[in-house]
């Protein structure tokens, strides 16, 4: 029995002895801290090792594990008490009394010291951490240290500390400088006190911080808005503040706070005054657009993209503005007088539209990140003003030729006319042409009646191809058609391509024809080049009744023979209204070469037979309608180049009557040897528009029948929506028109109404 007791005593004696050593070490440590850490490094290390060894020996010396366990436990508890006591005696009192910045400083100091102590303790009592504290319910040393500090110090000062921190932050916001290091350590204290959870940080600090931040910025926002001219600088200031807060968060807040902090700012500075900022007449979005302050717009975009509905509101304003600008263009066109610089009004208008579009392209790309809201806004805006309804105020109008009334014009017509003028000239730079065509195609996509555009373009292109045999020009045409094809699909462009192919075939045929003529020893009375048009591709032309003079007829006959030989079962119909000729005449002042239309040429050739030509006789010989004769003679006699004049010199009116006689104007002269006599152009646009309307009716009907055939029974509203959907790529049919077509189809017994549900239609096979 005795030896055992002795052992125990001995153990405890040793224990106490060692414990005292540890306590002394701790005291040394405290002194060392309070003396400002002025101890040589090696001393520190030695001390630490000594203490560590002591602990280690104590723990391992016990013979039985049970004994070891108790030693460890004892050590742990004693250590903890020691720390607690130390804190109670030395730290708490010092700290609790302080307020304001002094508190901050003191906390910073004590916390730093405590961390150092914790490190030492952890090192000295490492053994405990390895064997004793691995039990889950026992705090490891680090946690124990934190808990001691928490209970002894933190609990008592946390609200004061928090208030000091918040005050400091606000002070810094006002522009003062503060002790950032202390602040940071204070905030991190909150974080650490959570002991691996963020609860303490959030509850004790973060929530209060966010609330005070919100209040602060709300106040600031109101103040800024209230200032004179404050709205100008508002966004700039907001952005600056946001950057500042971001920096602050990085500098001394927990990483998790940054996101919420910025969100709070968004709410306080941006969301609350979304409308005010954007709609402000002086500094709002519209004003910026007007004055083209793109940088500011960029900032507006950056900031409002952070807020719900921010961008959509902004995009809405952009759309309205673009729409307004577009409508102004429309009005300018409608009321415009003679075009400036001799440019036709259509060109001015289209060019203006393209410029408008480009202006926003650069804005969107450079400053607004090409965000889809804005692209959509521009698209909607363009679609609105480019497709006005008849009843809208901004509808496009132009003066009817020769009358005082106004015709409604569509953008499709104007675009086609613009392209017409473009295609007639050779454009030097390929790039420029390419980019212009691209922009035209973009504009084209906004137009709703694409089918009308097709009709106009076809008509104008056919005329271009007829009169211009230039290869380069043909390439330009091809370029545009390929772009159009990419957008609309090949069905839309088959006819146009067909026309171009015909041009190629014409050349080939022409060469073959000449060969054939020479091999067969035929001679043409005059130089003759036929142009072959495949009927389906080219727009419909009126049947020609012209009886050409014998020379021409010989040429035509030869060609007909040749063509018959080289192709099978094809019918040739001559369309003289499209032809052109070169007529030479020796005037008194010298010979002249005149480029004229076939009709004009025929009339001129009449003068070969007789010196005086009577209008009525001309009609009878040439077998043309009198209107046509009138127009032709008018262009020869009263145009820019009057090669023909009325026999009666005293004739005052420029109208051509049946009884009028005409003679060649022998005294005619002009500067150039070769010139073109323009022929009167018929007003065709109405026919194009009317035929298009007619065509649309058929297209709608075909579509309805198609839909009904596949679905058999369908409700009225569904028929309408389906029809609109299927035809949307060509034009937008009105529901009313569709309804009328449905009624017509009922009348013609293609479909019928259901007996029980009058809203439903049934397909009749």
């Amino acid at each position: 029995m005795e030896p055992r007791l002795k052992k125990k005593e001995k153990t405890s004696e040793v224990f106490e002895g060692e414990w005292r050593f540890l306590q002394d070490s701790f005291e040394e440590l405290k002194n060392f801290i309070s003396n400002g850490y002025k101890v040589p490094h090696q001393t520190k290390v030695n001390k630490k090792m000594e203490a560590y060894t002591v602990v280690y020996n104590l723990c391992t010396k016990s013979s039985s594990t049970k004994g070891g366990a108790t030693t460890q436990k004892e050590l742990y508890h004693r250590c903890r008490n020691m720390i607690k006591q130390h804190l109670r005696d030395n730290v708490t009192e010092v700290v609790v009394d302080k307020t304001g910045d002094a508190l901050l400083l003191e906390v910073h100091k004590e916390w730093k010291a405590h961390n150092l102590v914790a490190r030492w303790v952890r090192f000295m009592f490492t053994y405990l951490d390895q064997y004793y504290t691995i039990e889950p319910q026992i705090d490891n040393l680090a946690t124990m240290m934190l808990r001691c500090f928490h209970d002894a110090v933190f609990e008592k000062i946390k609200s004061n500390l928090r208030n000091v921190v918040l005050d400091n932050i606000e002070s810094e916001r006002e522009g003062n400088s503060i002790n950032q290091e202390c602040l940071r350590s204070a905030i991190w204290l909150f974080i650490d006190m959570g002991m691996a959870t963020t609860e303490v940080y959030q509850e004790e600090f973060e929530n209060h911080f966010l609330t005070s931040t919100k209040r602060y910025y709300e106040r600031l926002s109101a103040q800024w808005l209230g200032e004179d001219g404050g709205k100008w600088a508002y966004l700039r200031k907001t952005e600056a503040r946001m950057q500042e807060e971001a920096r602050r968060a990085d500098l001394y807040l927990a990483p998790s706070t940054k996101g919420q902090l910025l969100k709070t700012l968004d709410q306080a500075l941006l969301a609350n005054c979304l409308e005010t900022c954007l709609q402000d007449p002086d500094a709002g979005c519209q004003a910026l657009l007007k004055t083209e302050r793109n940088e500011e717009l960029g900032r507006m975009y950056r900031l409002f993209s952070r807020v719900d509905n921010g961008l959509s509101t902004m995009a809405d304003i952009v759309r309205e503005y673009i729409e307004k600008e577009g409508k102004t263009l429309n009005s300018a066109f409608s009321t415009g007088g003679p075009a400036d610089g001799g440019e036709p009004a259509s060109t001015t208008y289209i060019k203006a539209c393209l410029t408008l579009h480009d202006k926003y392209s650069s804005l969107f790309a450079d400053y607004l990140n090409n965000h889809e809201e804005f692209l959509k806004a521009r698209k909607t805006a363009f679609e609105t003003f480019v497709n006005p309804q008849q009843s809208d105020a901004w509808v496009l109008k132009q003066r009817t030729a020769g009358k005082d009334t106004f015709d409604v014009v569509t953008a499709s017509e104007l675009l086609s006319t613009y392209l017409d003028s473009l295609m007639k000239k050779e454009i030097e730079s390929e790039e420029q042409l390419d980019s212009t065509l691209d922009r035209c195609v973009t504009l084209f996509t906004y137009i709703h009646d694409k089918d009308l555009f097709q009709q106009f373009y076809m008509k104008q292109m056919s005329r271009r191809l007829m009169h211009n045999k230039n290869d380069r020009l043909r390439d330009q045409e091809r370029q545009f058609i390929s772009k159009l094809k990419m957008k609309m699909g090949s069905v839309y462009t088959t006819k146009l391509e067909g026309m171009l192919t015909d041009q190629g075939t014409t050349e080939q045929q022409g060469a073959h024809f000449r060969n054939w003529m020479s091999t067969n020893d035929h001679k043409l009375p005059c130089d003759f080049t036929p142009q072959i048009l495949t009927t389906g591709f080219w727009p419909a032309f009126k049947h020609d009744t012209l009886v050409p003079p014998p020379d021409m007829q010989t040429c035509l006959a030869f060609f007909a023979k040749f063509y018959d030989k080289t192709t099978q079962s094809r019918k040739l119909t001559w369309i003289h209204s499209l032809g052109s000729a070169v007529v030479t005449k020796k005037f008194t002042k010298g010979p002249r070469e005149m480029s004229v239309t076939t009709y004009q040429a025929c009339v001129l050739l009449l003068f070969n037979e007789t010196g005086i030509v009577n209008a009525k006789e001309a009609q009878e010989t040439l077998k043309l309608p009198f209107d046509e004769i009138k127009r032709t003679i008018h262009s020869l006699a009263y145009g820019k180049f009057p090669v023909v004049k009325p026999q009666d010199d005293k004739k005052t009116t420029k109208a051509v009557r049946e009884s009028d006689n005409f003679i060649i104007n022998e005294a005619f002269t002009t500067n150039s040897r070769k010139f073109k006599i323009p022929a009167a152009v018929k007003q065709e646009r109405e026919t194009i528009i009317d035929t298009n309307q007619e065509r649309r009716r058929h297209v709608i009907e075909a579509c309805i029948v198609r839909i009904m055939k596949s679905r058999h029974r369908l409700k009225h509203t569904e028929v309408v929506t389906e029809t609109i959907k299927q035809l949307s790529h060509l034009f937008t049919p009105e529901p009313r028109v569709i309804k009328k077509r449905i009624e017509d189809l009922i009348q013609r017994q293609y479909i019928e109404r259901d007996e029980t549900d009058r809203n439903e239609y049934r397909y009749l096979a």
Binding site: H716, K739, E743, R753, R758
Partner: protein, 237 residues
């Protein structure tokens, strides 16, 4: 002559079923009177040509109306025609007269009158009957069956037939006359005729009518026109 016809009929036909027998009996009994009736009415119409002797039209019909109930006007004719399933516009053929009245067992003038009046009751009370009658009317009043019903005729007929049933009848007729005066009179299609009745049933108040409804375009236009008139009226002091 009537006797000979009667006996011939009795001799030649062996009635195959009770219905035919009944018919035959009926015919035998009442044919003379029906014939007299028919001739009387026909004559009051003063037919000019001989080939008109088997047709009751024009004034003849008016006389019939006067006989039955002058207050109801052309409605009498319409109802009778409908019941007799007359296939020609605005006239009753002798064959139809006989065949129809025989089927309906109407043998005398008194019975005719009673029959017509009871049919009128029928129509008023039974919506299905009315619909049938109304649909039939389109073809009966359409003089030229190759074309659409003339607007004027349609308006007149509507005035007689839809009097109690269509609240906006007067407005509707005014509207049609106004727009018909603008351009060419396209006429009223069967679809419009039918849908108008539907419209009168289902759309009591004009603003309940939706623009995306399946009613014909002309009805849509009418609603627009009527609403406009209403607002103008209400805005006047």
């Amino acid at each position: 002559m009537a006797d000979r016809r009667r006996s011939a009929k009795q001799g030649n036909e062996a009635p195959k079923d009770p219905k035919k027998a009944a018919n035959a009996a009926f015919v035998a009994k009442n044919k003379p009177e029906l014939e007299i009736l028919f001739d009387r009415y026909r004559d009051s119409g003063h037919p000019e040509a001989d080939d008109k002797k088997d047709v009751m039209q024009g004034k003849a019909l008016q006389t019939l109306v006067a006989d039955v109930d002058p207050t109801k006007g052309d409605l009498i004719i319409y109802i009778l025609a409908w019941r007799l399933s007359c296939s020609h516009s605005l006239r009753i053929l002798r064959a139809e007269w006989f065949h129809g009245l025989t089927q309906l067992k109407v043998g005398s003038q008194a019975k005719l009158k009673a029959f017509i009046l009871s049919s009128m009751e029928d129509i008023n009370n039974n919506p299905e009957e009315f619909e049938d009658f109304y649909y039939y009317l389109y073809d009966f009043v359409r003089e030229d069956r190759t074309q659409l019903l003339k607007t004027e005729t349609a308006v007149q007929t509507w005035q007689k037939v839809l009097r109690q049933r269509f609240r906006h009848l007067d407005d509707w007729c005014a509207f049609l006359q106004e727009t018909a005066g603008d351009g060419e009179d396209l006429g009223v299609s069967r679809d419009v005729w039918r849908q108008l009745y539907d419209f009168s049933k289902n759309v009591p108040a004009l603003d309940k009518h939706g623009a995306d409804s399946a009613y014909p375009v002309v009805i849509d236009d009418f609603v627009e026109w009527a609403l406009l008139k209403q607002t103008v009226k209400s805005s006047k002091p």
